[in-house]
């Protein structure tokens, strides 16, 4: 596979076919003004391809076209292709001409002939309507009328020369050739392959009962192209060629916007939720609540008012809704108001490629911003494992390019160990966020554990959480690790309740202590008051004592003086008197 998109700078002019994948593979379409050979077995889609090329030219490129029908009546072709919505009847009035060139069955042959008559007629018509594109459908039909190999080559050469000289973009389809060895008229087709400027091979094979259509560009003069076989499907609007990752196409809408996963604690674990436009993979064994988790995402998306599509492979849409209601996820109102479309993909049969195309078409039709595919691993069962991986890759690529937030679940093989948890599609490496769910059997219980294995570009928790489903919704709980053992379910509950009891006891004990302290404080308070009162009394007593002592002394000294006066004592002998002037 060419790793990068080939550069077609300065290449030959291209005539777009309107088949997106094909135009990408060839860098623009068929060689303009040259001849292309389209080979393929019966029912390989040659006529559809050819007609789509003309319709696109007439409608989008202002290049009217002529369809030379060697095999089928034009009216039948128009009727058959009405389902694609190409409005052939309308185009037929001016821009698209069908030449009924079926050889009449009662045609009598008498000697050599050539195709000059047809070319002359076509020339007149193309000049009249200004045709730029011309398709010869089932050229082999007319070639078989020619007697020998030389005559076939001569007529092919004549047609080719005519196309080149008129600078018409020609497309010749031939029922023969392809990659099959035992095809009829191999020689003349071989000659055509060398003659034309571009050769495209369509094949249609059945692998293990599943139809696979592939397209391969065999040669393209003067232009690069993707050399690999590309799967294609014939969808509701025509051809759809699947193309491998083309660089420069994705990474267009990178945003930092987060969208919730629908589970609050999971958002916390992811640091805010998924990034918008990324792809999320939820892996797990059957019954690990993958659908529930994706349902929660869908519900959250609808709550935000975003158009969402839920593709369920396992069960019917109504069943999913009923089952999710039991865990508090109510999707029914959103289905009723048209925001949510439930698609039961069990009804889509066919290869993985077909399923992808159908999903893409439905999502486009619904204008979905969020998409849930549950489980995506079914893809590898619907077809062969070889192509399913490519399909998953393109699914992720497409959703990213369209800015759709994709949540897909993937069933793990029960035999594989949960530790190596790779998915059958190997999309775990491509997905941006990978959430793994598993069971932990312990003490006779099965409990669900959730862990984030990777999440690009965001900080995320490395811890396992217990996923709890209840009628009120989906929650996550911390798990207990004790002595190197992880506790979940009842054991976790026991642990939790034990802790609750312990904390209650502690609370009561604290209360008690406080009360007793209060009491002691009160006692001390009372004692402090009585002591204070006693102190006051002592103070009063002390003051009283001082005052009594003073007055007694005064009385005493006054008594001495009076006694001395009475006795007529010497003044000088009285020290107190000497100082008095």
């Amino acid at each position: 596979m060419k790793s990068a998109a080939p550069k077609y700078v300065g290449g030959a002019a291209k005539a777009p076919t309107g088949i997106t994948g094909f135009d990408k593979i060839t860098g623009g379409g068929l060689p303009h003004g040259r001849t292309t050979l389209l080979e393929g077995g019966p029912g390989s889609g040659k006529t559809i391809f050819a007609l789509q090329f003309l319709v696109h030219g007439a409608r989008k490129c202002k290049e009217p076209g002529i369809f030379v029908a060697f095999e089928e009546a034009p009216n039948r072709i128009v009727t058959n292709f009405e389902t694609f919505g190409w409005k052939l009847a309308e185009l037929r009035k001016k821009k698209l001409f069908f030449l009924d060139a079926q050889p009449t069955p009662d045609l009598i042959q008498a000697g050599a002939f050539d195709l000059s008559g047809m070319l002359a007629a076509l020339e007149a018509k193309s000049e009249e309507m200004g045709a730029r594109r011309i398709v010869f459908d089932a050229m082999d039909t007319i070639l078989t009328l020619l007697p020998d190999e030389a005559a076939k080559r001569r007529e092919l050469y004549r047609v080719h020369e005519w196309l080149l000289s008129r600078a018409l973009t020609g497309l010749i389809t031939a029922k023969v050739g392809g990659d099959e060895e035992n095809s009829v008229g191999k020689e003349s087709v071989g000659f055509m392959q060398f003659m034309v400027d571009c050769a495209v091979i369509l094949n249609h094979r059945v692998d293990l009962g599943v139809s696979q259509r592939n397209l391969r560009v065999q040669k393209y003069r003067g232009s690069g192209f993707d050399e690999n076989e590309s799967p294609f499907v014939i969808g509701q609007t025509g051809f759809d060629v699947a193309i491998a990752r083309m660089l420069g196409r994705v990474d267009a809408k990178v945003t930092n916007e987060r969208v919730t996963s629908g589970v609050k604690r999971l958002d916390t674990m992811l640091g805010g939720g998924y990034y918008r436009g990324t792809s999320v993979l939820i892996t797990g064994f059957p019954g690990t609540a993958k659908t529930t988790l994706s349902g929660a995402f869908a519900e959250a998306a609808c709550k935000r008012g975003e158009r969402t599509m839920f593709v369920g492979f396992d069960s019917d849409g109504a069943e999913v809704i009923r089952n999710l209601t039991s865990v508090g996820i109510r999707l029914k109102p959103y289905v009723q108001n048209g925001l949510l479309r439930m698609v039961s993909a069990r009804t889509i049969t066919g290869s993985a490629e077909t399923v992808l195309v159908r999903i893409k078409a439905l999502a486009k039709d619904h204008k979905a911003r969020c998409l849930v595919i549950d489980p995506v691993s079914t893809l590898s069962k619907a077809g062969n494992e070889l192509t399913a991986h490519g399909v998953a890759e393109r699914l992720l690529d497409w959703s990213k390019a369209d800015g759709i937030t994709l949540v897909c679940t993937s069933l793990l093989d029960e035999m594989s160990a949960p530790t190596d948890g790779g998915t059958p599609l190997q999309i775990s490496t491509l997905a941006d966020t990978w959430i793994h769910l598993n069971y932990l059997v312990q003490a006779g219980e099965r409990n669900r554990g959730l862990s984030i294995i990777k999440s690009r570009g965001m900080a995320h928790s490395n811890q396992v959480r217990e996923l709890i489903l209840s009628s009120s919704g989906v929650t996550l709980a911390d798990i207990y690790t004790a002595g190197g053992e992880v506790l979940m379910g009842t054991l976790r509950w026991e642990r939790e309740s034990a802790e609750r009891v312990a904390s209650e006891v502690a609370a009561v004990a604290g209360k008690l202590k406080r009360v007793s302290l209060d009491a002691e404080e009160a006692v001390l308070q009372v004692r402090a008051t009585s002591l204070q009162t006693e102190l006051e009394a002592k103070k009063v007593e002390k003051t009283l004592l001082t005052r009594t002592t003073e007055s007694r002394q005064q009385e005493l000294s006054r008594g001495h003086t009076t006694m001395r006066e009475l006795r007529g004592g010497d003044a000088a002998a009285i020290p107190g008197r000497q100082r008095v002037p």
């Binding site: 030449l99 009924d100 060139a101 050889p103 009449t104 009662d106 045609l107 009598i108 042959q109 008498a110 000697g111 050599a112 002939f113 050539d114 195709l115 000059s116 008559g117 047809m118 002359a120 007629a121 020339e123 007149a124 018509k125 007319i142 009328l145």
Partner: protein
Amino acid sequence: MSQHQMFKFRLFIAGDTQNSVQALANLTSLCQLHIPKSHEIEVVDVFRHPKRALAERILMTPTLVVLAPSPVRKIVGTLAETQPLLQALRLGCFA
């Protein structure tokens, strides 16, 4: 079959390509041989009158259209093989 019945032919040719020239020569000599004086030949060159070729769905040249006697038949080729034409004209017994 009556000798007096008129045979009407329209021969579509592509200019003076080898096949077309041969066809005209073969038709003329065949008529001279089998149905002299009771035939009409109209020659249409598709290069000059492509619209007529388109209208009558003439893809291969040369193509001889037998207009009468009915039914209308188309015979392609140089008419070098006379047998098919004679059978178509129910002239086989005279050959």
